[in-house]
């Protein structure tokens, strides 16, 4: 049967073949109740996301708590199972791969989490932590120490860290250890989930710079998930804004920050305090994000949108290309169908 979304709809602007493609990806979590754990509904954490990331590119993913950005990152890595949709890595459909092939693919995709301490096993020393993946995939045997020292140097740590334990390091150093572990298998792609959010700003800048250096050196692609737009704008060339399980706007970071199109993007950017800049105050967004268990009909942002029209309450907006970007909003036209 011909699949209407078989063709990748998100060809990159420069025509490059994407490293990672998400096609109408959905991740739903069942809500169960009662003795027989009957499914009474679904939390639609990710509800139809289509995106692409090129090699050596950084895509920022921003949005507020509960918008589904973390679930999206976890789904890409197979940590949460998708409900439907498609996930392609380097041209291969991950859903159709054998177990062994998926495992091999894991080498090429890594993740760095927010909390640098809880993501490190407190009982393992740094040598074991940074070479665990290498051992797991049988890539080294007797040169483990030399490997580990090289990895630590890459992230700006000394060899004397080898036989120490995570608790002996500061937050910034721990995140460097996480970075060392993530790059140990020479991946093509790393999901950074709020990777610098727990760090103090002077240290945060060090870790961001490290990640930029590594990206340039190894041609890494990042999905950089963060609630902090200022951080994202300093590392990602392109950004996608999520609201309630959906991407509402996506395009070059500079143009989105300079001239946000979607009313939600506008509110989000307007709410970021910018030190040293006196700005005309936009009225803050009222209300809170509705429950992903029962998203509003039509456009999901309409109950909080200042510019909501009649159509917004009824019709889910499709994707529109506008000024070099993609935006899902009725203010910018009818939208297009997903099949290219």
């Amino acid at each position: 049967m011909p699949n209407p979304i078989a063709t990748p709809p998100t060809t990159l602007e420069n025509g490059a073949r994407p490293l990672l493609e998400l096609l109408d990806l959905k991740t739903w979590f069942p809500v169960r109740r009662g003795v027989f754990a009957k499914t009474i509904g679904h939390v639609r954490a990710v509800d139809g996301v289509t995106l692409a990331i090129a090699r050596a590119e950084t895509l920022g993913l921003v949005g507020e708590s509960g918008c589904g950005k973390t679930t999206l990152g976890r789904t890409i890595l197979g940590l949460d199972p998708p409900h439907s949709g498609r996930l392609r890595f380097d041209g291969r459909d991950i859903g159709r791969l054998s177990r062994a092939a998926k495992r091999q693919l894991r080498q090429r995709m890594q993740i760095i989490f927010q909390d640098p301490l809880s993501s490190l096993n407190p009982r393992m020393n740094i040598l074991d932590i940074v070479t665990e993946g290498l051992r797991e995939f049988g890539l080294i045997s007797d040169t483990r120490e030399a490997h580990a020292v090289r990895l630590l140097r890459e992230v700006g740590l000394d060899a004397d860290a080898l036989y120490r334990y995570p608790h002996e390091f500061s937050g910034g150093q721990r995140q460097r250890i996480n970075v060392a572990r993530a790059i140990s298998l020479r991946p093509d792609f790393i999901v950074c989930d709020e990777a610098v959010s727990a760090l103090d700003v002077s240290v945060q800048a060090q870790v961001i710079n490290l990640m930029i250096d590594l990206r340039e050196k190894y041609g890494l692609a990042y999905l950089f998930i963060s609630h902090d737009l200022s951080v994202v704008s300093n590392i990602a060339g392109r950004v996608a804004v999520m609201y309630l399980g959906r991407v509402v706007e996506e395009g070059p970071t500079d143009s989105i920050i300079r001239d946000p199109l979607h009313p939600y993007t506008r509110a989000l950017i307007g709410a970021v305090p910018v030190p040293g800049v006196q700005r005309a105050k936009a009225p803050p967004l009222t209300g809170e994000t509705p429950s992903p268990l029962a998203p509003p009909p039509g456009c999901r942002f309409h109950p909080r949108c200042q510019e909501a029209m009649d159509v917004c309450r009824r019709v889910d907006p499709g994707r529109t290309r506008w000024a070099g970007r993609r935006v899902w909003c009725h203010l910018y036209g009818e939208g297009e169908t997903l099949s290219a």
């Binding site: 507020e64 305090p273 803050p284 967004l285 809170e288």
Partner: protein, 328 residues
Amino acid sequence: MSAAILEVDNLTVTFDTDEGVFNAVEGVSFAVGAGEVVGLVGESGCGKSVTALSILRLIPSPPGRITQGSVRFKGVDLARLSAAELRRMRGASIGMIFQEPSAALSPLHRVGRQLVEALRLHRDIPRQAAWETAGQWLEKVRIPDAAERLHAYPFQLSGGMQQRVMIAMALMLEPELIIADEPTTALDVTIQAQVFALIREMRRASTAILLITHDMGVVWEMCDRVLVMYAARIVEAGSREEIFGKPAHPYSRGLLRSIPRLTDKPDRLAAIGGMVPSPLRYPPGCRFNDRCPYVFDRCRREAPGLLEVAGGHQAACFLARKLVRTPL
């Protein structure tokens, strides 16, 4: 600045831990005028929260203890008050907003009951009237269905709503000073913007705020005056415009340059090298000397005191007068 309502003078707070004895706050002095919003900024472990808690004598003791200095509220030395007098002052004269609403709201009692209790503790009003006042305040902080929400337990409210309940609780007694410790750190930016708009709108013109935060953006949005702390000491104090426009301490300068900005993005962020020293191993002399790009011999021997660089603008650096004239 109008007459100071809060005066902190040479405050030192010592912690006695298993790993050793150290000063979490050392020789800190500042004043907050009526109606003034003062920001106390710094990175984790610099002593800003301990300073805030010490004002109300809320530091856990042991391990912490105020070993030096005084805190005066409207001229009254808080150290001389009895526990009961201090309790009366907290809430009624000095309100508090913390980062974690869960730390301030009881999980076992309905929101309405907690608000009513706070009101009746400080004011002689009948229960029914207090209930109505509580409802009005929830409306003022824009909690939808306020009358209904009075019956809710804190866990039934979102983080943003819990924070608004706490703000209502702090504001409804119309205190002269509010101490807010990272009041919006756990919140999303759009909710943060709502909360700040509320605090601006709700506080009486004469209510002063001491805002503790690590976020320079928040300081810029909210504060008239700024105190920068590093390794237990205040290293720079000045007006918002002075600190952001003409910072005179190398640490403040580094901090401002390392903030990721929405626009004007450099190729690489200007990070401060090294890391905050452990309070058990502060370097001798200036505590920033091992990370400072301007360090010279004297900095390693002698700790610089706060040097006046302009009226009201002070920085604890031997080079402050030169740096204040150097563009960032």
